[in-house]
Symmetry: D2
Subunit: 373 residues, 4 copies
């Protein structure tokens, strides 16, 4: 059984390989009558697009998305809107350069999925990583653009908060800084240091990991579900499905283990909007799998790019031992471009949770039943 | 939309509340002809059962599981085996003591799901936490016992590796120690220190968090799936669905971000069984969402129990501000009893991945196609 | 892969065998705050219950349903309502008499699932048909009672319209007659004739088939979905999942093939409620997989009970040829008791379609956008 | 919630509208290492392609299918094989002629999905029927071609057995005749009569319905599942999802109601292959939702094409009453081209059932455990 669909009611199915003719996705379950044009999605894709700084792969892909179905011009308004039917998005692959990868077609690169795909399927697409390439995430970003429209009112933003061993100073957090540096870093000082650090990594032919934080503001209380459909479980699944991710945290995350009960539990006071006001947000906006109305805060750690210039020991598909150096064009830190991907996955999870909540309760958002009689 | 089912082909649906007449689950998709008796499951339940030391809640529940369907005696052998039809498991609730919870029926305990259930549904079962109680995890443990039988040959074990801020010394790791202390701790020295530490926490009416590590040995290469059905995404979803979990890690987890590419990628040498031999396991046994044949290693962090004796500020369901102290019987560290739950969820994820792998490839396990012609 | 769950958002999972200790189901996804007591379900179960006339099996089962989870008393009103969490329903098996079935434990009854279960699983529960027994449908009827509450405003009724070769005269259709005879027959004259006919069948130790018609009134336009989630496809799947069903029809059904395009297409005139008025209902209330606002009309054919007293040729599980007569207590026409089952499945399909429609469009019902600007 | 995916393990997701730039589908879950080229699918598409006789729409669509992902050349053999990743198929729309449909953009054609799509979504794609067009079925036929490869060994064939009121003589059944006439009719005499009949229908600007029979030979015993995943329920759902279908039958279908128990139950004798030999096939190859090893026989009825030249009464989307004649290019009997679509859906259902059976039991086919010890 293969799994290329994410979501329950807002469902994203992706297809295509790194070096095939195209990649694409089908978004099924999108509500009708939402204004949607290619330009709405292109901005997010441009943010993820490679080749924009010396810190990402030099592969040149315009990543122009086409909407192939599911929208039409509304008679009266002339607006292009969704029709409720599946929305297909397609991006043509342009700059494949397959010859770059020729010599590793029979060798398993350490840290890559080369061996495991072969072990599972008895065949693997060695051309640019085939289906396991991060190229697939372009479609997530496009689908995330649609998801954002479904949950209009919710703001989903991401930032890089650690690169290699170097974290940001949270006191310097400024969302406006995120677009002022090539790292989506909210701390201008850290960004300056990272530039030097990453130049060193790049020149050494090495790579490093990163931690990405995604924050969703405006999520009303009540989204998510108990037990196995928990909002945090869906986020964890979504983030862990991104290439190279090895850890996921909600709110205080792993550090919650070291807190006392007094420190951890977020106290509440009466809010003036009928929703309680929380005095802290250790929970990351989720309690019992359901949103609290506070910002949803989640992080994920990306391991260092496995494609490095240093020679490493491995085997080939015939079992022979080899030494392998990965040439070709690679990101020294795949975590950078994972920021828009993380945003997109958060948006998709929330759009799905919103539709599920609406199905079961009939509420467009959580109407906290206060004041009560 | 409510979600009370976990898994795709090996599916576990749980039901029942903390203070209802019973809790139960339905395991659907279990292969036929697997020997199964209640005694096979009871041992795992006993491990999770409360009231076994002064460090867990004093609620007394025998947690006797009954198999209500899906098994019968095989004519020839007399063995009780699965029939391929749904297996229903039922545990009667015995020691409810509902009156303990009476006074918090209209107040929202900080850190609990009280507010969010009310926000979502407009009603919540305040009796012992209702559906959000950790009592639901008893059924996971029982279902996990069936899952273990489906993946006979795989050993799933768990241990507590951190309690509050105090981690173990991994050099002392001894699986045999796990059952010698009330913490499932593999480091005898750490266990001794934890006893003192946790006594202090308990007497102070406070609580603490923990980190649990689950290791599955014997998983062949090839289980899991690319993209959204990644084995690590399923594990993350499974662990994050356990009460109070705030972080999930695979292999090196969040720490992978601080490694260099050279450190992180596990090198391979020719193995003598036709499967490559890995020289390290930073990946935690999973690459590209598919198992490598190394041990699958995953961790999750549990936040401190929210029910503490210290008075905390909150609101009630009418919006009035209140001070609240949680009396009743609670675990000072819910992380302890989360160990068998984590094991069970890992077993369920693996059983599901095994069936999915078998469906798509026809292979009972990954037959790494080496040597090749 | 086993499949014991029906529905997407309103999901019914059944479990239990004919001669096990109990049968049950879990209804997941039911909206919260719906008033629900056991008495609401018992009436439907009593209608399906065996032993009520000489025309159904003499097995005596009180079929007392218990709600084991998912409801609680609302503080303010004292009403027992759903909480949004899974509703477990349980019925104890009382009158099993396993010895009746002893001698067919190794023989395959023609027309039964005996051989196919054994072929699939390598084992079968021969006690009363095990999981393949019509007893499983009791849980559908109970779940259908909950579904009816979810779609309050929709009336779902069923009737037997043919027994053996004898159909009703549709000019005599009177819903009030349905409860006046042991056949759920809406035509009093036909019912009288059927009584004689079925007495003959019963005394001959033979059996006969039947056709059941289910009508749902009050379904608003817009429920259902295009392509694979068509409302009619869901109904077909639901009906075909009932024991012994061999055909399903929507509206004119198989007879539609013989109509001309002029006869078949239902003409429309302006309605006075903002919804078009249809001049006929050949479509059975569904066009393009979506409800039209007309009554949803569907039928299914039930084959004759396979358990007959006449000796038939068969084989046993060792491959030996045998002659077999089925003793024990059986319905001469299982179609009679299929009426409440068909009603229940229709209600479940509609509840699911309602929730799906609400998820995607936000509309509690289809608000046909007329008049438009 | 929209539903554009069919299948559980072999999953087909279609997208695209009649008059958009393209239509496509994603086949997920296909096993790896199956030889697959576009030419393998094109033959089935050509069979469904319009404009091949005067009895089908004159729209000219070459329907050239492209495989956009999921296959690659195997290193050693040079064969193009599936890789286990999603297979995307794309067909460009060529001959749209949107202007034909301009005048019905605001009117609801009786018998069409025009009104219901508008009622559901508040918008509809009036261009060639948009998503509700039978054009979507081209992708099913292509996907069915892949499914056939998954169940190599099973032969799936279809035939038209009734057109308007005129059925075939089953004594004349000759599969070789099916490709000798424009109707896929297995009875040469009937085909000759149908030609005259359908010419009359066409010239009158009218339309007629049809009944299609699909037969799958070589299905081993054991495919399918009990209760809600019954093989016949899946077939019913698949057929009912085809445009204009109003009835589905398995084996004797609706006529089973009129049989006696003695007539209906298929007797068995010892077979010489370890599988019982059935003396008849009233059951259509399915008992208890599971295949018996006999041919799987199913039928579906297609209503007359709703697009006719005769003026019919209807309303427009503003509620005004109108008279409407449907010009444009239409099939006088859509049932003809439904034959390859029905074959494809049967193949998809069987491929899915095969993978499900393999998942749960590990058996590539049902190994009836005879002789037993």
């Amino acid at each position: 059984m293969s799994h290329n669909t994410f979501g329950h009611l807002f469902r994203v199915t992706t297809f295509g390989e790194s070096h095939g003719p195209l990649i694409g996705c089908v978004v099924d379950g999108c509500p009708p009558l939402i204004e949607l044009a290619e330009a709405d999605l292109q901005g997010y894709l441009d943010k993820r697009r490679p080749g924009q700084s010396r810190f990402t792969t030099q592969r040149q892909e315009p990543d122009q998305v086409r909407i192939a179905s599911g929208v039409m011009s509304e008679e009266a308004s002339g607006r292009q809107v969704t029709t409720g039917t599946p929305i297909a998005l397609i991006i043509d692959n342009v700059d494949q350069r397959s010859k770059d990868y020729g010599e590793i077609r029979q060798q398993y690169r350490p840290g890559h999925a080369d061996f495991t795909y072969d072990a599972k399927y008895g065949i693997r697409d060695y051309r640019g990583g085939g289906r396991s390439s991060a190229r697939e995430t372009a479609m997530r970003v496009a689908a995330g653009g649609i998801a954002r429209k479904v949950i209009a009112g919710v703001t989903v933003r991401g930032a890089l908060v650690q690169i290699g061993p170097h974290g940001i100073d949270r006191n310097n957090w400024d969302w406006n800084e995120v677009d002022n540096n090539p790292f989506f870093c909210p701390d201008a000082k850290a960004a300056a240091l990272w530039e030097t650090y990453l130049d060193g990594v790049r020149k050494a032919g090495s790579s490093c990991g990163a931690v990405i934080e995604i924050v969703a503001e405006g999520v009303p209380p009540g989204w998510g579900a108990p037990i196995y459909g928990k909002l945090d479980a869906e986020i964890a699944s979504a983030f862990m499905s991104i290439n190279a991710v090895k850890g996921v945290e909600i709110g205080d995350g792993m550090a919650a283990a070291a807190l006392s009960g007094e420190e951890n539990a977020d106290e509440m006071r009466a809010g003036n909007t009928g929703v309680p006001h929380f005095l802290s947000n250790h929970a990351g906006g989720i309690l019992g799998g359901v949103s609290t109305g506070q910002p949803v805060v989640a992080r994920f750690a990306v391991k260092p790019t496995s494609s490095i210039l240093t020679s490493r020991r491995s085997v080939d598909r015939f079992g022979a031992e080899v030494e392998i150096r990965t040439k070709g064009r690679h990101d020294p830190c795949v975590g950078i471009r994972a920021v828009p991907v993380g945003e997109a996955m958060m948006a998709v999870v929330l759009a799905d949770a919103f539709l599920r909540h609406r199905a079961q309760t009939g509420a467009p958002d959580a109407r906290w039943p206060f004041p009560r009689s």
